[in-house]
Amino acid sequence: MSKTRNFSPSRVIAVTWRILTQISRDRRTIALMIFIPAIIMLIFGFVLGGQAKNLPVIVDNQDAGYTVHVGQNSTSFDFGSKVLSSLQSDDRVKLSQGSFDSGKIGVDNGTYYASITFPANFSEVLILRNAGQSINAPVTIYIDGTNPTIEATVLAALQSSMQNTVGSGGVVLNEQFAFGGVQFSSLDISIPAVISLVLTQTVLLISLIVIVRETTSGVLSRLYATPLSAFERLLGYSIALLLLAMAMTGIVLFIGLGIFGAVVQGSFALLFLGAVLYASLNIFLAVFLSNFARNELQAVQMVPLITLTSMALSGMLIPVDSFPDWVQTVARFVPMYYANRVFEGIMLKGYGIDNLAPQFIIIGGIALLFFVMAVMTVKDRMPD
């Protein structure tokens, strides 16, 4: 009898060989291994390649201009218009003109990111300051502070326009924050996005595993011979997973709000409802996808594809307004886009159901669509 060595490279190679051979037998897994990283890289490339731009901003230029008389000569200055036209050519913002107050309403309901006004004496103050008076021209900006990237981009665009036209100094930016005048911490701002990420990732993963395990354990083929219909089975899965999702939502909210003290300006009940609605959307998506996964490995691979592409397209990293038009169109089909609007809306902006009804309806509609798709594709017998 030959002595068995403590360590054998050939045994190690046997394990390596076995895993590679197994995977090579699973064509769907190989396809996913190629397809998923490719898709994710492409989407992230498109989304992250650009910077924030085309952010809708409204300007109310009250500047009356100022005329300087020197002897017989007189020269008119209109700095407000100069700043305005500089801002107009800046592709970081998409400018509209209108009254400051209507702009504020627009910021409050999410149409604009900022409403800016130049005072009537804007040019006058700048001229007099130039003549030696120590006065400053106040520019008021009413800004959405719920997304730091957007806030910084809008402010940078405004500041560089002023720099280019009237130089530095002399202008005081009077920054007013929308949504209760709060300047949010970066934690406050990230929690809504984290909630949608966690709900997508964990709910999809758990739902897929729970369902696919039934197929691989052999019980499913036994269930085919019982009075249980495929529809009853799907409904049973969904209710169980919904209860689990509610518990998970509870944990996420408890940690986010209880431990980290993230703000919720709107109704907590509405937030919970929105989270559960979005979780059920993901449950039904998982129920649908489970029809196409023959084993846990295939199922698990689907999750990052959905989570990461949703993350890129939902505006979580770069605002959707900055995407090329066609990507913006694609983003409108990503459920997480609406979930982010709901969570941000309720937590940071204090929106109620009156503001968020369209998003709730869309999320509910997509959830229903996924459920119908699941019912239509569910297998009720062994494969032919």
Partner: protein
């Protein structure tokens, strides 16, 4: 015990005519023109080598797998067309254990009882009958993953019998059960059959098949011999079914 050689078919509860199953993947003709007639209260054993089409046949009879062509009637109803109605009156113990390993013995059986719309009290009454017979009464609250293969097999049988079906299908149901217990089971099966339960089982253990009222021997999807064990042995002048099986399976080697 009825004399097996004098067997006469009573009211048929399972009938197939020209039953064919060709799997899409591989285009294998798993079942090829099968004509079966199984009566009420009968113990019918489908025997044959691995891959001979026994499990495919059972799956079609239970409505879990749709035939390519041919007809099936179970309890007078067309299958798979009326399979949901038929399902309430049949029980299945498949080849794999097909149990929820995280659940206890009782929880597994309860799940199936619920699928057959049993209420809690009749379930508990039934469980008190079944568990001692299956020698599982001390394992009632044990999680299935802690059980031996033979015990899992018995839990699977419990799940198939809990709702007092009229027909039960055991696909290799007695594999992994020790000989003493197996003999005991056969007595139990026979008492159930006498009370009117039809038992269809598959096996590749020949001495076991000899205990059935009738045997159907399958090869390559076809029924190549059938009748009572005595009839078959006489016809082939053999002393055991195993001899007949070996004679008829010449060339077709069992792959396991």
């Amino acid at each position: 015990m009825a004399n097996p050689s004098m067997y006469s078919l009573k009211e048929p509860v399972i009938e197939t005519s020209n039953l064919v199953k060709i799997y899409k993947e591989g285009a294998i003709k798993a079942v090829d023109g099968l004509n079966l007639k199984i009566g009420k209260g009968e113990i019918y054993a489908l025997i044959g080598a691995n891959g001979s089409g026994k499990t495919t046949t059972i799956s079609m009879l239970t409505g879990s797998l749709f035939p390519t062509s041919g007809e099936i009637r179970v309890l007078g109803l067309q299958v798979p067309k009326k399979r949901r109605i038929v399902a309430a009156a049949i029980g299945v113990a498949p080849q794999e254990y097909a149990l929820y390993s995280d659940l206890t013995v009782e929880q597994n059986v309860w799940f199936f009882a619920k699928l057959y719309s049993m209420d809690r009290s009749s379930f508990l009454k039934r469980l008190d009958e079944l568990l001692p017979i299956l020698r599982l009464d001390e394992r009632r609250r044990t999680a299935v993953y802690n059980l031996s293969g033979g015990m899992k097999r018995r839990v699977s049988i419990a799940c198939a019998l809990v709702h007092q079906p009229r027909i039960v299908f055991f696909d290799e149901a007695t594999v992994g059960i020790d000989p003493v217990l197996r003999a005991f089971f056969w007595d139990y099966f026979r008492s159930l059959a006498e009370a009117g339960l039809t038992i269809v089982l598959t096996s590749h253990v020949m001495d076991e098949a000899e205990r059935a009222n009738r045997i159907g021997l399958m090869r390559a999807g076809k029924l190549i011999e059938h009748g009572t064990p005595e009839e078959i042995k006489q016809r082939h002048s053999a002393s055991s079914i195993e001899q007949v099986f070996l004679k008829l399976s010449e060339g077709a080697v069992a792959d396991e």
